[in-house]
């Protein structure tokens, strides 16, 4: 039985019909991915101060000034900073397949995308289990909507994710390893909205039909 949800991977790959050949490749790629990936999950919870237009994360220099966060985080009093990565070996393998088999590259890449999302979902569940008295918001990452990518290095530094998970931010605030998710997730006593909206997203013309931020 597969660990990774193939249906999600097929959605990333824009697969209409799954041929036996493709399924065999997916099985082979999943086995390899699970063998070489070194998943790491880091999360830290912070008390926050909610101002009119922003959240100040206490004990850090981080301020979340974002309409999206204000809309999606309903008066939360705690925010988790999260970093999930599959490790650099996954990037290297994708690079390898880009030279030997583009089909495998696509399959491996899609499976890795789903796997890192699954790890992030797992982490969210763990956090919710530790905070059963609170409602949890959606996970929201730097670069989504109006939440600036500039938060990326701050978040990585605050979580000490370079030392603890090998995650590095480059000069354009992109993370390496590529299969890495960073996010903020709030916890509050009030029920939290779960809707997503593309109207403020910088990628609103991306055309993606599987973006989790487009599920509305």
């Amino acid at each position: 039985m597969s660990v990774i949800d193939y249906s999600q991977a097929y959605a990333y790959m824009k697969v209409g019909n799954v041929t036996p050949q493709l399924e065999n490749i997916m099985v082979e790629m999943e086995r390899e991915l699970l063998y070489i990936a070194t998943p790491r999950k880091i999360a830290k919870l912070y008390e926050v101060e909610h101002l009119d237009d922003s959240y100040i994360i206490k004990g850090t220099d981080i301020v979340l000034k974002s309409n999206d966060i204000n809309r999606l985080f309903n008066n939360v009093d705690v925010i988790a900073m999260e970093c999930i990565t599959l490790g650099i070996a996954v990037d290297k393998r994708i690079d390898y397949y880009s030279r030997t088999s583009v089909m495998r590259m696509i399959a491996f890449d899609a499976l890795a995308n789903v796997y890192v999302e699954q790890m992030a979902n797992e982490l969210s569940k763990e956090l919710q289990a530790d905070n059963t008295d609170k409602y949890m918001t959606v996970r929201y990452s730097p670069g989504y909507g109006d939440l600036p990518m500039l938060l990326q290095p701050q978040l990585i530094s605050e979580l000490n994710a370079t030392k603890r998970a090998g995650v590095i931010v480059n000069t354009n605030n992109l993370m390496i390893p590529l299969k890495t998710i960073t996010a903020f997730q709030g916890f509050g006593v009030k029920p939290q909205p779960i809707d997503y909206d593309c109207s403020n997203c910088l990628l609103k013309e991306c055309g993606s039909d599987i973006c989790p931020r487009r599920k509305s």
């Binding site: 041929t19 912070y46 850090t60 480059n170």
Partner: protein, 786 residues
């Protein structure tokens, strides 16, 4: 007394104790959020000095100056030089007050990822390390390189210390519970490479709790011949409301560490979360203990991520060598590293354990080519390397830029050659192949060959190259010309091993030169050589008879337990399902249905009667068009498009080998790049594959390509079309800059852009000529260009 003598004196009597964490102690003193610990060296030196003093009082023999993160990359625009000097002064002042102690310059990871996955080159890393050494070398007793994940970065650091000072070095990397660093370096590779480079102690720090160390300590103890170091965290981190604490108290920390001393650790201390209490407790627990080192004498090679002991016969892939190989020779002359890369990949997939790299073509700059080839090959496969050259400049470059522990191929019995090459072998801790030949040629008798082997081994002794790093090549002579020599070679293999205790290697296929049915002679001699004790067989692993002989030998010699490898190879899983059909398919149908094996068989048959160019024009392109149109209409999906493209690419590669270079026609030249700052290149790679199959000549600049590099390459290659890709919004600005700069030097070039954040309107805004949403749209567009 010199520092290392002092350390060795301590180690001969007891365990050497390092200090504990600096950051934790500073936090206890009120280190603020976001404040770098090194700034305290200038703002609050008394606090730093007091922490050092406390560690010395707790029993630390070596204290790490508070300089871990002070370098020009992590502290751009800050006074990192001042922080280094002030940090050392704090440590020195503490030692002076306490009365004794060794001050270490502490250097951590540079904070940027090394090439090829990151931007930091080996030379740049070296320069950053060198600058730190130049600032501090006259003021410290020893250098520590710690918390490093990439073996390449660590190697740059060690070379920077050794080439710019005479300071002793301790290195420690951070490992996960599987004994690998984030970059994938196993414990054994670290030890192999670092012992070879001549560091004084090696080990681990940070990341793990003492309770997790047992299996890694056992691994260190089994491979390490020099003192090994443990400096773990104070247990596992527990985070509560943003505050981190560790779960091991000083008492249990000391107890566990004492157990590891019993397993062989001779230098111990603490990392994150430890305080002077931990060090004091540790010191008490190890009182009276000492470790006796043993020389493990392991013959091993390594890349940055793959460790290989040479304790059973291994295959050295011989294909990256221009001798007798026209295409490789052309690739070297034309700087075609794509071809070299493919040879590396094919040999890797065929089961080579080590790759030989030889760039010996007359009138080229062999040292530069060797460096480029080594960097390129190790960027794509993780096999250890054999640097094959008679040019000492090329050998030096190969050894320097290889991440791991390599083999030098080769020296011979000539004094002049030995004196040139052996110092390099010694400096980089490599293995060396010694050919049993000298200026009198290949000796005809067994004893003469053994005499040359002895001469080489004795010369290695002079340079302190250990026996386990010596490999003797008893040389294969052509049986067709000197039939009696075949058995002498095999006898020499046995004798060299039994008399001198060194390993052996042999290039096998020369045995059959000039004879009919060479493959039969080759594989028989190969089996005989393996049976005689051959350790490293230099062969082409892609040749089925040789590979089969090897696997059969490994099964029969009980190296391949349960015959797993043999059975796997013999039954060879074929992914491609067999479709039942009475009708013989055409090549086009096979491409459309992505049937690779059948497509290759049909192509080989076609090539007997039809020219390669006709096959491409009449069979491949029409098939790709059908797939492309299906994709456009939505009846075929991306994986099928790519699958067909993969098959077409393999067929095209087969055809190209059979078309003389002067008859190969290619459509216009297209340059592709993912723009500066963007590291996502999946889309670009898909486009590349599809366009190659349509016969376009592709120059792929890769990902994260700086604007000036694109401009330089456009001037050099003059492509008709430039395709730029970007996935992230933040890098669209770089795409715009790239377009502006390219248009400044070539206004006729056609620039096409693509990627998730691009649309027609964005493309127009940033000055691109076209936006295409997928590879199919691009091929249609290109077909309309004059």
């Amino acid at each position: 007394m010199k520092t290392m003598d002092k350390i060795n004196d301590i180690l001969s009597k007891r365990i050497l104790v390092l200090d504990g964490a600096m950051g934790t102690m500073l936090q206890m003193q009120g280190l603020g959020v976001g404040v770098k610990p090194e700034t305290y060296n200038i703002t609050d030196p008394k606090i730093v000095e007091k922490i050092h003093f406390d560690y010395l009082s707790a029993g630390a023999d070596i204290i790490y100056a508070n300089t871990f993160g002070a370098n020009s990359l992590k502290m751009k625009g800050e006074d990192y030089k001042g922080m280094i000097l002030a940090g050392i002064k704090c440590a020195r002042d503490a030692v002076e007050k306490f009365g004794s102690g060794i001050v270490a310059l502490d250097i951590g990871s540079l904070g940027e990822l090394m090439e090829p996955m990151g931007d930091l080159s080996f030379d740049n890393a070296y320069e950053v390390f060198k600058e730190i050494i130049d600032i501090a070398k006259d003021k410290v007793d020893i250098v520590v390189l710690e918390t490093i994940s990439d073996l390449y970065e660590l190697k740059a650091g060690v070379l920077a210390v050794k080439e710019n000072s005479d300071l002793s070095i301790i290195v420690t990397m951070s490992f996960d519970e599987k004994g690998r660093t984030f970059a994938g370096c196993p414990v054994e590779s670290m030890v192999a490479v670092m012992e070879g480079l001549g560091v004084n102690a090696v080990g681990l720090n940070c990341s793990l709790a003492p309770s997790q160390l047992r299996p890694i300590v056992a691994r260190l103890a089994s491979v390490c011949s020099i003192p090994f170091v443990l400096k773990p965290n104070a247990g596992l981190p527990i985070i509560e409301r943003g505050v981190t604490r560790f779960d091991e108290d000083a008492e249990s920390f000391g107890t566990l560490m004492s157990e590891y001393v019993d397993m062989g650790a001779s230098i111990v201390g603490g990392c994150c979360g430890t305080t002077s209490d931990y060090i004091s407790n540790l010191k008490g627990k190890i009182e009276g203990k000492r470790v006796t080192l043993t020389n493990k004498q392991i013959t091993n090679v390594s890349s940055g991520t793959k460790y290989q002991e040479i304790n059973k016969p291994l295959i050295v892939g011989e294909r990256i060598n221009p001798t007798g190989k026209k295409l490789m020779r052309e690739a070297i002359i034309n700087n075609d590293f794509g071809y070299i890369e493919m040879q590396a990949i094919e040999q890797n997939e065929a089961g080579a354990h080590i790759l030989d790299i030889n760039m010996g073509v007359p009138n080229i700059d062999e040292p530069i080519m060797m460096r480029k080839a080594v960097c390129q090959v190790q960027s794509i496969v993780d096999l250890p390397l054999q640097i094959d050259s008679s040019n000492e400049g090329a050998i030096e470059k190969g050894l320097r830029y290889a991440v791991g522990k390599s083999i030098v191929n080769s020296v011979n019995g000539e004094r002049e050659v030995l004196e040139k090459v052996l110092p390099l072998v010694a400096k980089y801790g490599a293995l060396v192949v010694g050919l049993t030949i000298d200026n009198h040629g290949v000796p005809k008798t067994l004893e003469e060959r053994l005499s040359i082997a002895k001469r080489i081994i004795e010369a290695c002794d002079e340079y302190n190259i250990p026996r386990h790093n010596i490999i003797i090549d008893c040389l294969t002579l052509t049986a067709g010309a000197e039939q009696e020599q075949a058995m002498i070679t095999l006898d020499a293999i046995k004798e060299v091993k039994s008399r001198y205790g060194v390993k052996t290697t042999l290039g096998v296929s020369n045995i059959s030169f000039g004879l009919p049915e060479r493959a039969v002679v080759n594989r028989t001699f190969f089996a005989m050589a393996l049976s005689s004790g051959l350790d490293l067989a230099i062969i082409n692993p892609n040749l089925a008879p040789m590979k089969e002989s090897y696997l059969a030998y490994m099964l029969l010699a009980n190296h391949d337990k349960n015959g797993e490898e043999y059975i796997k190879s013999a039954t060879n899983n074929i992914i491609e399902p067999k479709e039942k059909s009475d009708k013989k398919r055409t090549l086009g149908e096979c491409i459309i249905k992505s049937l690779e094996t059948e497509a290759m068989q049909i192509t080989k048959e076609y090539l007997k009667d039809i020219s390669g160019l006709v096959i491409i024009d009449k069979h491949i392109i029409p098939a790709l068009n059908i797939v492309g149109e299906g994709y456009e209409k939505g009846s075929i999906f991306l994986p099928q498009l790519i699958s067909s493209s993969d098959v077409a690419k393999k067929v095209c590669d087969l055809i190209k080998v059979n078309i003389p270079a002067n008859e190969q026609k290619e459509k216009c030249k297209i340059m592709l790049a993912t723009v500066e700052g963007d590291v996502h290149d999946i889309g670009k790679n898909i486009v590349k594959t599809v366009l190659q199959n349509y016969g376009y000549e592709i120059v792929d600049l890769g990902r994260n390509v700086p604007v000036d590099v694109v401009v330089k390459e456009v001037i050099k290659h003059r492509p008709r079309v430039l395709g730029l890709s970007a996935l992230m919004t933040t890098t669209v600005a770089n795409m715009k800059r790239t377009i502006e700069k390219v248009k400044e030097i070539d206004n006729d070039i056609i620039i096409c852009v693509g990627g998730a954040v691009l649309t027609s309107s964005v493309a127009k805004e940033i000055g691109a000529d076209h936006y295409t949403k997928d590879p199919r749209e691009l091929t249609v567009l290109l077909s309309t260009l004059s």
